[in-house]
Amino acid sequence: MKDSLIPLEKVTFHRRIFALSHTERVFTRIVFYICFVVCIGLTVALLLSDVEALRWWGGLLFLILLDHIFHLSSAHYRVRDLFLGRVPGNNIGLCIDKKSLRILVAAFEKARLQKGDLHLALFSELLKKPSVVWICERLELDVSQLRKDVTEAFEHSDGEQEKAEVMEILKNIALYAGAEALIHKKDVIGDDLLFAGIVSSPSSHLARIFDMYSLSQKDVSIAISFGVALSQRHLPAVTGGFAKTLSRIKAHRVNRTLTSRPTPYLDRVSDDITDVVRSGRGGFLIGHDTEYHQILDALSKSGQRNVLLVGEAGVGKEAIVHHLAFQILSDAVPGELFDRRVVSLSLGRILSGGSDDIYTTLQMIVSEISRAGNIILYIPDIHLLEKTQTREGVRLFDVLTPLLRNGLFPVIGTTTPHLYSQYIDMNKSLSQLFERIPIEQIGEEDATRLLVYDAVILEKQLGIRITFAAVRAAVKLSARYITQAPLPSSAQEVLREVFARVKRERKRRMVKESDVIALVEERSSVPIQKASTHEASELLRLEERIHERYINQDEAVGAVSEALRSYRSGLSSGKGPIASFLFVGPTGVGKTELSKSLASLYFGSEKLLVRFDMSEYQEKGSIQRFIGSSDGKIVGAFSESVAHSPYSIVLLDEFEKAHQDILQLFLQVLDEGVLTDVFGRKIDFSHTIIIATSNAHSVFIQESLKEGKDIDTIAEALKGKLSEVLRPELVNRFSRIVTFKPLSFEHIRKIARLQLTSLSKRVHESNGVAVSFSEELVSFISQEGFDPSFGARPLKRAIEKHIVSFLSHALLSGRLSKGMRIEMFLEGENTLSFREVV
């Protein structure tokens, strides 16, 4: 029968010591010390007495004293008993250990005497305790500053409360602490749990301090589990099992119930996972509960009992199989799986075995497994069966399929979604043999719990301490920024690397959150640290910087700059990309150029501009080139680019020309910041700026501007008109529609000046010649390159035609040589020349 828990309303909190005044408490304490000494003396005297009866009484007293000493600092009852209703009066006060009770009393007294906030008084008392200081240090909190802030807040607090109210506060704190005790399987409430309790139920004064230090109940709770793991002698072998004294792997060829037969041939080409787990290597599983129970159900049913675990590499497929073996060893599985062996088949060993006849070899293995009667065959990377061929050109899969079809023994296979689509899903005779169980990555909370063990093991092995803040950051940042690998493997990888780095720097003995951030920043190229003073000032004058190399379009420049400022100040909505813009306007007005400038100026390189000409994706079938084909043969150009550059500007030129099926994908991208590709993989767009450009309705823009309408009116009218080419729900999902104005001659002139300066730089770098241009020449080039219908586009051609061609002739003919400083000017109407300048 399952024990039922008592309702929380029934829990009470009372200890007689709170009813005493300070003087009474001091008095009773003195009396107790005296009584204790007297009892010891009396016991000794009785035990040494000549009277036998007294010696027996002395014995009893001795037992009572021993019991008292044994329970000197412990609580009267266990927290578990309280919630099962086994504690008198359901009094949670009896589950607090004596040292912590003393802290409560001290805080209670301090708050009453100084008429201050009880929470602050208790928090201040707790901060004196080593276990709490340890938690704070691991959370990277400045303990001495925290103490100062708490003391100051206490001095300024006004918290005179009634005794009943005080007891209610203490009860609430104890209740939260009790809940934490259950989570961490701790018997009684100690300092650390009281700390967790007070963080869970702070007063408004204390809540302000917690906000200042970003201290949350979740963090404290996991920091406690970190401490629990550190205090354990044997840890689960999650990172190779080195934390535990391992026993030798002993082969158990026949099971305990003697239902099986030995499998000598199979043993040569396989590893017995059950033996591995029995020796203490693996078997520990956090998360994946649903998937594990699905596997148990599938393996325990009658008929075909083959399961295929489909999940990305590093998602925990092997850990689930190891856990199954572990549970089998503990008989914690349905009867059908009692006393079975989980055996991992090595295809490599079969193929490298030198046997000429693979078919016979496999038949022998299968016949051995069938006769053994207790084997669960585990085939990792089962797609290899389809890929691998014998020397005679026979696929291993063709050999094994008829044998698997018989359903004589259960099989667990693993593969990735990509390879599943490519090799297994296409082959119906293979896919029908298995029950497909998708394995998703575990959540951040589970990953943190797992990483706590990893961290503790690494800490013990390398002698380098790690703060819990670093563990938390490893999980959080890996989940967010290292999207190529799933949790927990991405976070485990980060953790191992950061430990290795700190170990290389011999002077340091502590892994901190900043180390993890630096590593993830390096790996993902995404700026994670808070904006530095320099970056902040750059962000504040981003418009100015963009305009140093970009002319006009103030609205567009302002919009992208604002978006980046809100992102780096942490104020962006959190859902969807950093920002998404639909740039609308005639050709050649700088839509693409602005994206390039932004990529170069802020993202650090034009390489971080992921550009797609959407007119290339007009046909229905082009979606395969865009996000990949379901058979895995075509790689998705778009999905792969963003998966590899999660922090980038995504430029989608001529957006409206893409096929409707492709445009449909952007509903999810713009809304949730995620694209689910054909394999179900989620590609993160939350660190990208998406810029879609469109030339649609350029004539309307030009005419409206001629009519003297302002840009906001045009943008609003355009929104309605755009639904002729794009679905309204898509248009509405963009954070902003930016209308680009046509360029005037004056703008073209400024652009010409910029482009000529850039050309001059190139010539100086490559040929050592410093070139400047006369004003007349700049005007001439601007005139040549100005076409109201094409914006600045002809300008580039005009520069190429006149200036570049002139300079290349001059350089090749030797008229220009290294070290020369020249000014180019216009001679006559359209003849170019140059003169040396000093």
Partner: protein
């Protein structure tokens, strides 16, 4: 005087409670410790003796020999193991009961001897 009364009541109540706690620790907590000790021995023993698993497979053939001999041998071998294992657990349980009995008797003996010899 008022202080002395409050403190005096507290001391008396605490003294009485300590005595009550001694017997609760000795008998209730003690029984719990002995019981978890027995459970530990039982779970360790099951890893080798597998009484539960042997019962489950009682009618399965020995070493997959699906003939009369295999079934008969399987049944008897497992029956012997189940009986052997059960005996081991019974002995272990007896050992725990006896040691707990001695533990439980200790204070009572002290009191009994103390009283009878005194009288």
């Amino acid at each position: 005087m008022h202080i002395m009364v409050g403190a005096g009541i507290y001391i008396l109540k605490t003294g009485y409670y300590r005595l009550f706690e001694f017997f609760r620790h000795w008998y209730v907590e003690g029984a719990r410790r002995w019981y978890s000790g027995f459970l530990y021995v039982f779970s360790r023993g099951e890893r080798t003796l597998a009484v539960r698993a042997n019962l489950f497979f009682l009618f399965s053939p020995l070493y997959q020999e699906r003939n009369v001999v295999g079934f008969l041998l399987g049944f008897f071998v497992r029956l012997i193991r189940v009986i052997g294992g059960s005996l081991y657990y019974i002995l272990a349980a007896l050992f725990f009961v006896c040691t707990y009995g001695m533990w439980a008797a200790l204070p009572l003996v002290c009191i009994y001897k103390g009283i009878t010899l005194f009288l």
